[in-house]
Symmetry: C2
Subunit: 348 residues, 2 copies
Amino acid sequence: MREHVEVSRPTPHVHVDREVLERNIDAMQQAASAVGLALRPHAKTHKSLEVARLQLAAGAVGLTVATVAEAEVFAGACEDLFVAYPLWVDDERATRLRRVLSRASVVVGVDSVESVRQLAPLASSGLRVRVEVDSGHHRSGVPASDAATVATAAAESGLAVDGVFTFPGHAYSPDGRAAAAVDEQRELAVARDALVGVGVACPVLSGGSTPSVEFSRGEVLTEVRPGVYVFGDAQQWELGVATPEQVALTVVATVVGRYPDRVVLDAGSKVLGADRASYATGHGRLLDHPDARITALSEHHATVTGFDAPRGTRVRVVPNHVCTTANLADAYVVGDATWRVDARGANT
Amino acid sequence: MREHVEVSRPTPHVHVDREVLERNIDAMQQAASAVGLALRPHAKTHKSLEVARLQLAAGAVGLTVATVAEAEVFAGACEDLFVAYPLWVDDERATRLRRVLSRASVVVGVDSVESVRQLAPLASSGLRVRVEVDSGHHRSGVPASDAATVATAAAESGLAVDGVFTFPGHAYSPDGRAAAAVDEQRELAVARDALVGVGVACPVLSGGSTPSVEFSRGEVLTEVRPGVYVFGDAQQWELGVATPEQVALTVVATVVGRYPDRVVLDAGSKVLGADRASYATGHGRLLDHPDARITALSEHHATVTGFDAPRGTRVRVVPNHVCTTANLADAYVVGDATWRVDARGANT
């Protein structure tokens, strides 16, 4: 049974349905375990210690984070952190990383000899690295054939290499999910063989994202790092990855305008975020009104068609991309409780 | 002379060039005064008491805000506030509005008889209303011909009406700025005549937005409410409204990835915001490299083409839409000082 829309809090506010959240966490853990994969969820999606603790209790081996600031926060819940990002570690960040290393095991992403050199002084504090491979998303990462060069430089400078990783971001496509998972596993296998060929052990092959993870298998990968699955969002709904029943996070909004062809809600881009993928049918969806579409979004207005209701009506909006919604929130309303977004603003 | 890029703060961080900021504030004030218009800047752009005080010191008659929460914050700097939004005022918001009314004069937007009825109990606390007119943006607001119906309902329920307003949002178009300003002034004049026709005085005709304001004149309008002009952004740059020299706010970012065809910066959508208008040439610009384009943006990565630099290089990124960037910031770095974003999260 779905919870009712909370009426005692001012709108817009971010609501999390705990029952759906826990179901999502358990389902992903079971799916990963069933195919022999370790699950290291990306905490950037929720930025919440409470959610992280639920993921770890369900069986996650550790957490993925995007920034040193997130590592600082999540070291409070987890002693096994992977910063899946090609960090450029200046003096300030090195000092902060050393402090995190005194509290937790930390592996960071690396995709160049330059950053290996820069990270080398942190080897004595226990920092380890994982080589990022570009498996087709063409954002960061080296081609798989160059992974050995980076790994060799790391090993020579005293940095322990724990493996290779990739983000198959091209899986964010209605028709490309399975193919991106194939790319991911093929390129990581090439990179692993290259490392082993130059005498660098490669125990970890880490991939995965919410849209590709159902195609990931333990024959190649050892770990997956989905993030969005905890909450779901309109992107996953429209990609066919999540059903509306699997959406745990919504923004509760009020109808503030009603006109012959549209209504206007008080949840705009300052609360929902403004991501809109090319395949998206609008700027978000209404959980309880699947035919409705948000056809325009400004800072404090969502213009909705295909739905009509009197001013004052409350609705649950499913944001397009939930990571950016969580990034805008101070807290989640969870039944009668409020959970802090502990890593709010932790983006440096 | 432009300031140098701040090197002692971790990236990404939000930098404000005070000299450019003050020049923008003075220029807009002079332009408005020269054509007989009162300037009531929209504080949602900066959410900063410090910036608001500079605007008021330069001659602004008051401030525009978008939410009750922003009114609560800006009552600390200003006793004359206009909430340019069709508020739906439930009990919680009514209590908060009453508290603001004890500190400042408050006018709120209204575009329906239903909301007039709901606001009526606040008349005794001094709340006044201004009727919102749809001048072509088709978001909120009534057609000009219906403004009298709303105004009459307000007057009959004891709410003082101080005039009419519109947001000509269709001015956000490279070729449509002047035409939107024509629409704005024509429709507000129709609405004013309608109010006067039913015996409701209409002293205020309020319009304006940064891209349309240069076409606004005091023959029809009495006040304008631009917001973005204080900081500038890539939208205004690409609309031809601001030059790069007029951009006061940038996000300082570091090159974290360098590949044959692109570099990657550590400023993503969680710091810049993700707005991208149809006319935008990318997801933001680099202030000092006008040929560069941000061709892809994810949460912590900006992929840049047309620019090359070694890892570790710092650059100044001009966000597409600065209101959403400010909404993501805790503070602005202003030379050696830090200014709080006082209304951070004040979106309810």
